[in-house]
C-alpha cells in the first residue's frame, strides 16, 4: 500500500543520489514544492529524464547542482526565454545532455510500460540526434523492403516524481487528461506523488473519477503540497505566477542572481 506521507520530505525518501528520476512536462502539473525540497535535501548526480520537455523544474535542479545527466527534448522558459541555468551548464559541459525528440521519449517510456526492450519510431533518420545517441539504433523494418527505421531502448526510471490535483487514502491519484503521467508511473520502478489535497472515499468507486485515476498500486508515497506547482500552474486549477517567473528569468541569468534566488525561494522557505 502506498505511504500517505506526513511530509513531502518523507515522501521523497526514494529519491537518492545517482538515480534516474523522471519529470513531467512543464504544463502537466510540475511538482515544484517537491523540487525545492529535493534541492534542500541536497540530492546529487541525478539522471533527470523529462517526459518530454521541462522548464523551471529542470533549470532549478541543474542550477542547484543536482543533475549529472539530462535526457530531454528541450528545456526552455517559454515566453520568458531560454532556461538560463540549463544553457549555462550545457555550454560549460557541467552536465551531460542526452538530446532527444519528444515522441522518442514518449515511445521509450511506453516500451518500459509494455515490458518490451525497444520501440520503433518514424523520423529521426538524417537528424544529428542519431550521431549523439549511440543508444539509438537503425534497423530495417522487418515488414518492409529497404525501409530503415529507428528503434529506441526502453527508459525505466528508478523514480517518477509527479504532482496532481488529488489523491485518496488508498493512494489512488487523479491525473485527469495527463495520461503520460500514468505511462511514466507504469514505466518507473517507483512513483512519488504530491497532491493539492487528499480526499475521502475511493476515486476508483466513481466511474467518472476512475477514468482519470492512476491506481495506488503503482504509487510509493503521496504527500500533500498545496499550491504545489507554484510558480508554475496546475492545469484546470490555477495558473502560473507570471511575475515570479519573470523575476526568476532575470535573477537566474547570472550565477550570483541564481544563488540569491535559491536562498530566497528555496532554502529560506521550508515546505508549508
Amino acid at each position: 500500500m502506498p505511504l500517505i506521507a506526513p511530509t513531502i520530505e518523507d515522501a521523497l525518501a526514494p529519491i537518492r543520489d545517482g538515480i534516474m528520476l523522471a519529470a513531467p512536462r512543464e504544463v502537466a502539473g510540475v511538482p515544484m514544492e517537491a523540487t525545492r525540497a529535493l534541492i534542500r535535501k541536497g540530492v546529487r548526480n541525478l539522471h533527470l529524464v523529462t517526459l518530454p520537455t521541462s522548464s523551471l523544474q529542470a533549470d532549478l535542479l541543474i542550477g542547484a547542482g543536482c543533475v549529472a545527466v539530462l535526457e530531454t527534448s528541450a528545456v526552455s522558459l517559454g515566453e520568458f526565454g531560454p532556461a538560463p541555468r540549463f544553457t549555462a551548464a550545457a555550454k560549460s559541459g557541467g552536465i551531460r545532455i542526452k538530446d532527444a525528440t519528444c515522441p522518442a521519449l514518449h515511445a521509450a517510456f511506453q516500451a518500459a510500460e509494455k515490458g518490451v526492450p525497444f520501440m520503433p519510431l518514424r523520423g529521426i533518420i538524417g537528424s544529428d540526434l542519431l550521431a549523439h545517441r549511440p543508444d539509438w539504433r537503425v534497423i530495417d523494418n522487418p515488414f518492409g523492403a529497404n525501409d530503415p527505421i529507428v528503434v529506441l531502448p526502453a527508459i525505466r526510471p528508478d523514480v517518477a516524481l509527479i504532482h496532481a490535483h488529488m489523491a485518496d487514502r488508498a493512494g489512488n491519484v487523479w491525473i485527469g487528461r495527463q495520461r503520460e503521467l500514468a505511462t511514466m508511473a507504469h514505466a518507473s520502478a517507483k512513483t512519488v506523488v504530491t497532491v493539492e489535497k487528499i480526499v475521502d472515499g475511493n476515486l476508483l468507486d466513481d466511474p467518472m473519477a476512475a477514468a482519470g485515476t492512476l491506481p495506488g498500486f503503482y504509487i510509493e508515497a503521496v504527500a500533500v503540497a498545496e499550491n504545489g506547482c507554484w510558480p508554475l500552474g496546475l492545469p484546470d486549477h490555477y495558473g502560473a505566477d507570471l511575475a515570479h517567473l519573470g523575476e526568476y528569468a532575470r535573477l537566474a541569468a547570472t550565477t550570483e542572481g541564481f544563488t540569491r534566488y535559491l536562498e530566497k525561494y528555496v532554502h529560506a522557505r521550508r515546505a508549508a
Binding site: 504544463v27 520537455t53 526552455s76 555550454k91 515522441p103 533518420i125 537528424s127
Partner: protein, 255 residues
C-alpha cells in the same frame, strides 16, 4: 485600456504580427487539422484565424492550451495523431535554418561544449517527417539565423528516397518575406516580400542560396475582414496561451 483598445480596434494600422499570421494562413490552404507547438504565438494566431474564417473548421490544437486542444490521451497524442496522418499542418522554428530546409534547435559549436545552446529539438525530428505541411517560421531574418549550413541538424529538410517521409517543409515565413520550399529540389524560392522590405534586403540578410524570380510580389496586406477577425476573435483566444504576447501586441486579455 479596454475602452481605448475598443476605439481603435478596427482601424489601427496593420501590425507585423497580423501580416505574418495572414501570410501563414494563406500558405496553409484548406486543411482539416492544424497543430501548433510550444512558443509559437504567431503560428497560433494563424491557426486561430483559419478557424475563425472557417466558422469552426479546421480543427486547431494549441499544444499549451486547455481550451483550444481536444487531446485527452496525454502528451503523446499530438505525436501519435501526426503519426496517424491526422495532422495536416505544423510549425517549426530554429536557432538556425539553412537552405536545405534543415533546422537546428540544439546549438552551435562542439556538441559537448557548445558556444550557443538552444532549448532542444522538441518534436521536430518526428513531426517534420510525418506532417504534410510544415511551415518554418522565424521572425529574426538575418545571416545569423538563416545560414548556409546549420551547425546541428535537429531535423533535416529532406531525406533519401527510401526513408519514410510523407511530410516536410512547404514554406519559410520571416519578418521580411515568404519563401516557398521545393521538396524535389530541396531549395527555397522567394515568393513575396513584405511591405517595407526589399528583394535586395532579403538577399543581403539571407545566409543561404535560394531561387529569386525576376519579379517578386509584395506580400498582400491583410483584408479588413481578416484584421477584424484577428483583433476581435483571435486576440482574446490567444491570450489564454500567450498572455504576454497578446497583451503586448493587442492589449488583449483572456476572456
Amino acid at each position: 485600456m479596454q475602452s481605448h483598445a475598443c476605439l481603435n480596434i478596427d482601424t489601427a494600422p496593420v501590425r507585423d504580427e497580423e501580416l505574418l499570421a495572414d501570410v501563414i494562413t494563406r500558405v496553409i490552404g484548406d486543411v482539416r487539422h492544424i497543430a501548433v507547438g510550444n512558443a509559437s504565438p504567431i503560428p497560433a494566431m494563424a491557426a486561430l484565424l483559419a478557424r475563425a474564417r472557417g466558422g469552426g473548421v479546421p480543427y486547431v490544437s494549441l499544444l499549451q492550451s486547455r481550451k483550444h486542444n481536444f487531446f485527452t490521451d496525454g502528451g503523446r497524442e499530438l505525436f501519435d495523431c501526426a503519426g496517424q496522418g491526422r495532422i495536416d499542418v505544423f510549425f517549426l522554428s530554429g536557432g538556425e535554418i539553412d537552405g536545405d530546409g534543415n533546422v537546428n534547435l540544439v546549438g552551435i559549436g562542439d556538441y559537448d561544449k557548445p558556444s550557443v545552446r538552444f532549448p532542444g529539438s522538441f518534436g521536430s525530428a518526428h513531426l517534420y517527417y510525418v506532417v504534410p505541411k510544415v511551415v518554418l517560421f522565424r521572425t529574426e531574418h538575418s545571416r545569423r539565423t538563416l545560414v548556409p549550413h546549420v551547425s546541428f541538424i535537429s531535423a533535416p529538410g529532406g531525406n533519401a528516397p527510401n526513408i519514410h517521409r510523407p511530410g516536410g517543409p512547404i514554406a519559410l515565413v520571416t519578418n521580411r518575406c515568404l519563401f516557398a520550399f521545393d521538396r524535389q529540389r530541396r531549395r527555397f524560392r522567394l515568393e513575396s516580400v513584405h511591405s517595407g522590405h526589399s528583394i535586395a534586403e532579403v538577399a543581403e540578410q539571407t545566409g543561404f542560396d535560394y531561387d529569386c524570380p525576376e519579379t517578386v510580389e509584395v506580400t498582400p496586406r491583410p483584408s479588413d475582414e481578416t484584421l477584424r477577425l484577428l483583433r476581435r476573435v483571435v486576440a482574446p483566444q490567444l491570450a489564454e496561451v500567450y498572455p504576454q504576447f497578446a497583451a503586448a501586441v493587442f492589449g488583449a486579455r483572456a476572456p
